[in-house]
């Protein structure tokens, strides 16, 4: 996969033309930055098995903690069920944290969109189970104490150690859960919702002590206590390393600053960054970073943008469509603004190739990841590239794409016009052997959906379809 210098694709684009002397010769040849390491699915299967075994263990220790005698006592059944739902729910919450902990080898195989989808799908389970845990245990204790359910709340919260903070954690968890409920979530700004969402970590931390101190599966069982504590400590460690530590280290090491911002088309700008040691930043074409522009009012939010070219040390380029407050502010960033980055993420890379025949289909701004991916395609791939836009001047980066396609000996189609005039079905005419190709499709969600739907009608196997959805 490592291309020899002689067979490296050309490096078109504004990067090399930077500086006052635009007509000057290209900058000195720089060593090519390494690609993101190859995905290793076996490792992910193994990790999945370990996590699933953990779930089995959690349910198991809930069952074996209760004796038949206790089950028969007043409230015994409810206390047992309360313990079971608590353990199962909390374990699933741990799995949810793991899914978004950005573990590199998992990200490389499953991709962040898949991981986020799993995270979202799983979410109702732990929440429901933990609500059940709280309700059922209150009933159970009320039965055991032969008192009213409402009367039991006070003794439960005050009479046990660590129950006060656990209750606070539960209230926090419910607040975050309600805010994440789709009809409510879509009314909240992404950044605000994200900030609120972070409190889930606090909620889980607050709940931890009462699990260990009061849980029937842990009281008097040092082994289960140890395993449970280690599992949570390890998860917290992963989050700290991969969501905080690594991005900070990487951002400091590369010290990126905004070098130049220039328009590429209507509402589309390229941001060129200058940084150190970019030849050591392992990133594949088609991947993205979470970018954090350290300017007033912007530094606290990170946004995902694809790189629109592989790093050309000391430069790195991203190309952005200005649609919201944030992206519009981006176009007006002062030069020299420092930039922090987290990543790279994404499986929209040449690693996903299964055959030597490739089709790349980009809708609108989706062209950015196709542009950088083109640099990574193995020699002799002869890709068919389709760029779609609603008007001619929205075909951004078209010259660079044309140059790369020519170098690869491929074919380029530019499809311009509203989607009604240019339905995606036209793709089958443009690319006759679409069903035999690895197809990369990028663009807005609706565009990607319509293309993947067409591909599934054509009976293209799912493994041959690689999608990169841009949230606009």
């Amino acid at each position: 996969m490592t291309a020899k210098p002689s067979s490296a694709p050309p490096r078109p684009g504004g990067l090399l033309a930077l500086g006052p002397d635009e007509s000057g010769p290209p900058a000195r040849a720089t060593p090519s930055a390494p690609r993101s390491p190859a995905p290793r699915p076996l490792l992910v299967d193994l990790a999945l098995a370990v996590v699933a075994v953990g779930f089995g263990l959690s349910v198991g220790i809930a069952l074996t903690a209760t004796s038949r005698h206790q089950l028969a006592a007043p409230g015994g059944v409810a206390l047992f069920l309360g313990n079971l739902t608590g353990l199962a729910g909390t374990y699933l919450a741990l799995v949810m944290v793991l899914l978004i902990s950005r573990i590199p080898f998992v990200e490389r195989v499953l991709g962040q969109d898949t991981l986020l989808r799993w995270h979202r799908r799983l979410a109702p389970w732990p929440i429901t189970l933990i609500i059940a845990h709280v309700v059922i245990l209150t009933i159970g204790y009320a039965q055991a104490a032969r008192t009213g359910i409402l009367h039991e709340i006070g003794p439960l919260v005050n009479g046990f150690p660590d129950m006060g903070i656990a209750t606070a954690g539960f209230v926090l968890m419910m607040a975050v859960a309600i805010a994440s409920f789709y009809p409510i979530r879509r009314r909240i700004k992404r950044e605000n919702w994200w900030g609120l969402h972070l409190f889930m970590y606090l909620a889980l931390a607050l709940a931890f002590a009462h699990e260990i101190v009061l849980g029937p599966s842990f009281v008097g069982h040092p082994v289960t206590q140890l395993v449970w504590s280690v599992a949570w400590a390890a998860t917290a460690g992963l989050v700290l390393i991969y969501r905080v530590g690594l991005p900070v280290v990487r951002s400091i090491r590369h010290g990126l600053v905004v070098e130049e911002i220039h328009p590429e088309g209507p509402d589309v700008v390229s941001v060129i960054l200058r940084g150190r040691h970019l030849e050591r930043l392992a990133v594949s074409g088609g991947q993205f970073f979470e970018w954090r522009f350290l300017a007033r009012g912007m530094w606290w939010q990170a946004h995902p943008f694809s790189i629109s070219a592989r790093p050309q040390p000391p430069y790195l380029r991203l190309t952005v469509k200005c649609v919201g407050d944030f992206t519009s502010a981006l176009a007006r960033l002062p030069l020299g603004t420092r930039v922090a980055l987290e990543g790279p993420y994404g499986t929209f890379t040449a690693h996903a190739l299964r055959t030597r025949k490739v089709a790349l289909i980009a809708g609108g701004i989706g062209v950015t990841s196709v542009r950088s991916l083109l640099e990574d395609l193995p020699k002799g791939t002869r890709p068919v590239v389709v760029l779609r836009a609603s008007s001619e001047d929205e075909l951004v980066l078209r010259e660079e794409i044309a140059e790369l396609v020519k170098w690869h000996g491929g074919r380029l189609h530019e499809v311009v016009g509203p989607r009604t005039a240019q339905p995606v079905e036209h793709l089958t005419e443009l690319i006759g052997d679409l069903h035999k190709r690895d197809t990369y499709v990028s663009g807005s969600e609706s565009f990607v959906m319509s293309v993947t739907r067409l591909l599934s009608v054509l009976k293209v196997p799912q493994e041959a379809v690689h999608a990169d959805v841009y949230a606009l």
Binding site: A52, V53, G60, H69, G140, Y141, A145, G159, P216
Partner: protein, 165 residues
């Protein structure tokens, strides 16, 4: 699909592992409730068979009768079974003359293992206090308020049955 199979098989495996481990006897479920939290440490083994909670005075030796002003001899009684927030307990007290010689807990039953553990920690302390004070007028332990209250209440009712002030 393949990953779903891996997940299900592994989860069932983990679950079966725990059950197998327990059936193997190395960590048999504890029969927590029912086993009285007796405190055999400093007292001789019980001579009386455990009385049912709330049972009445059971003289062990010839002595006692209810009438004589200062009752003498060795006798014991079980106090009222007291429901406290997280379980129930009753206290059996043994007197020799007018001095408390032995206090034991019968029918300790708790809702959860934590409460059980707490009761087992605090009951010996309470017992020690009672033996020192020779009455039910002792302080409870903070952190185990409910258990202490139940213990003291049941003890007092047992002492009442034996007509000890």
């Amino acid at each position: 699909m393949k990953r779903a199979v891996i997940a299900v098989v592994a989860a069932v495996g983990g679950f079966a592992g725990v059950l197998g481990f327990n059936l193997g006897g190395s960590r048999a479920p504890l029969l927590r409730s029912g086993a009285p939290a007796s405190n055999p440490a400093s007292s001789p083994p019980a001579t009386t068979p455990p009385t049912s909670p709330g049972g009445s005075t059971t003289p062990t030796t010839s002595a006692a009768g209810g009438s004589g002003p200062p009752p003498t001899g060795v006798r014991s009684a079980v106090g009222t079974t007291y429901q406290y927030g997280y379980g129930q307990l009753a206290v059996r007290v043994t007197l020799n003359g007018s001095s408390i010689t032995r206090v034991a807990t019968v029918g300790l039953q708790t809702a959860d293992p934590y409460s059980q553990q707490l009761a087992q920690q605090v009951i010996p302390l309470l017992r020690h206090e009672v033996l020192a004070a020779q009455s039910a007028k002792v302080n409870g332990f903070s952190g185990a308020t409910y258990t202490s209250e139940a213990y003291i209440y049941s003890l007092q009712s047992a002492l009442d049955k034996l007509h000890k002030k």
